[in-house]
């Protein structure tokens, strides 16, 4: 199994619902976030391009954070999800330094925290909170090892990109463009 998220930038309006839903679902303290929205504007009036996208931990296949973690608190579970076990984390910050996406942060309680693809929801057969609330339905989640899954089909039929592929992390959050 290889979990992946596919996000359609042609539909995202940057409303940030994914951010709020994540905060309420995962008790993320106010002032912190596990996902966020970026806006990129290119061109000159009136020939402009605007790209909005929801970003988060890319659950990289070649995850530098897991590699550099000295205690094994950062680890990969079934489906390729990168998780952090809070009470194995010493808060050294190495994983934060290692992430090209700045997707991790130090929780006020000391341990390092980040997107879990809502692992606790997946176990119950639910989609990640961000995916389930998105009002534009621009986010898809599923198994890339299954060629018939929606995510597989989208990646097969649409043009896509990943973030900072040159960092060599093999990110598993894909953006349809």
């Amino acid at each position: 199994m290889r979990y992946a998220m596919v996000i359609d930038t042609l539909k995202c309006v940057g409303c940030s619902d994914c951010v709020v839903a994540c905060q309420t679902e995962n008790d993320v303290p106010i002032g912190y976030c596990r996902d966020w929205i970026t806006e990129t504007v290119n061109g000159a009036y009136p020939n402009i391009e605007l790209e909005l996208k929801s970003e988060r931990c890319n659950h990289c296949e070649n995850a530098p954070c897991v590699r550099c973690c000295p205690t094994g608190a950062s680890h990969i579970v079934e489906g390729g999800i990168v998780l952090v076990t809070g009470d194995e984390c010493i808060g050294c910050g190495a994983c934060i330094e290692s992430c090209p996406y700045d997707a991790r942060y130090q929780h006020p309680d000391g341990y390092v925290d980040k997107c879990t693809f809502c692992h606790h929801r997946l176990e119950k057969g639910q989609l990640p909170a961000c995916v389930s609330v998105c009002p534009t339905k621009c986010m898809y989640f599923g198994d890339l090892d299954n060629p018939n899954s929606e995510v597989s089909r989208l990646l097969k039929n649409r043009k896509w990109k990943t973030l900072a592929p040159e960092a060599g992390t093999k990110p598993q959050v894909y953006y349809l463009i």
Binding site: E39, R67, C68, C69, P100, A167
Partner: protein
């Protein structure tokens, strides 16, 4: 015009707008680690070569520094952890891919070894304070006998330690300033150089001072070469590496880097040491202290500037 911004307003403490995860304790830790590695290396090599009687500062007096430096460094490291009560988790596993993990293990071995090394010289270092317990006397004798064995262990360990201080940073692909293969040798060289400077500072006989002035000069030249090499590498690199280079040569860290590290910390002491070797009267403490300060600032610059650099996407 291109614009990039956070629509959902990200202001995560210590993360935005640029990382401030590692603070001064890490820089200090890297400096002290390098310094200890340098001193232990020289002590080990001199002992193996059987010249310990000719260079007493190297093997004896200066070797009092590493245990203190390593202890302080470890304290600094733990001080910068945000979940320090779980520090013991470091020693539940060995993760070879994680420099931090094997660094922790190397320190776990090297630190007691550095204490034992000093202890083996206890009677010579502190002739006035006799050891009260018999088993301690026995232990000292045992260590004294095994000094050479310890030296054999210390040489590779100190090299690993010195390289580790650099690899700790260079392993981070995500920080373009750090992500180059030169950083390990560079930090090792810098560590050896600060070690040599400490010996110069503490040594009393001219023979020892002369030898280490020569060694240090060589190290300074190598270090300058490595810095040029590092910058050339970045210059030929991708956009993010060019940005990283610009921080050092044309940005907010230029003064610190060139002024304090390259000129005051390497070139000036290098010239002074060369003059000293040529026979000019130079107070040796000046280049030695300049090197130590330069080495410390170098760690600060690299740690702080490195956290500003990132991938663009």
């Amino acid at each position: 015009m291109q614009e990039e911004l956070f629509t959902s307003g990200r202001h995560i403490p210590n993360i935005d707008p640029s990382l401030e995860i590692w603070h001064w304790p890490i820089s200090l830790y890297l400096f002290l680690g390098g310094l200890a590695a340098g001193l232990l290396f020289f002590a080990g090599v001199v002992t193996i070569l059987g010249k310990d009687k000719e260079y007493p500062t190297t093997v004896k007096y200066a070797s009092m520094v590493p245990p203190v430096a390593l202890s302080l460094g470890l304290l600094a490291l733990v001080y910068d952890l945000t979940h320090p009560l779980y520090t013991w988790q470091l020693y539940t596993t060995i993760r070879l891919e994680s420099p931090m993990s094997w660094g922790a293990w190397v320190l776990l071995i090297t630190t007691p070894l550095s204490f034992m090394w000093v202890f083996s010289y206890y009677s010579e270092l502190f002739p006035k304070w006799k050891l009260k317990f018999k088993f301690l006397n026995k232990f000292e004798k045992f260590l004294k006998k095994n000094r050479k064995n310890m030296a054999y262990a210390l040489v590779p360990l100190s090299i690993i330690l010195g390289v580790y201080t650099g690899i700790l940073l260079s392993a981070f692909n995500a920080r373009p300033l750090w992500n180059n293969a030169i950083l390990g040798p560079l930090f090792l060289t810098s560590g050896l150089s600060t070690g040599a400077a400490t010996i110069i500072l503490l040594a009393k006989n001219t023979k020892e001072i002369h030898l280490f002035s020569k060694i240090d000069l060589a190290l300074i030249i190598i270090e300058l070469g490595l810095i040029v090499h590092m910058i050339m590498g970045m210059y030929a690199g991708s956009e993010v590496q060019l940005d990283a280079m610009n921080l050092l040569i044309g940005g907010e860290f230029t003064l610190m880097f060139f002024g304090f590290v390259v000129i005051l910390g390497l070139i000036v002491p290098g010239i002074l040491e060369a003059l000293e070797i040529k026979g000019y009267k130079v107070p040796v403490a000046i280049p030695a202290i300049l090197i130590l300060i330069g080495g410390l600032i170098f760690r600060f610059v690299m740690v702080e500037a490195g956290q500003i650099t990132r991938y663009l996407y």
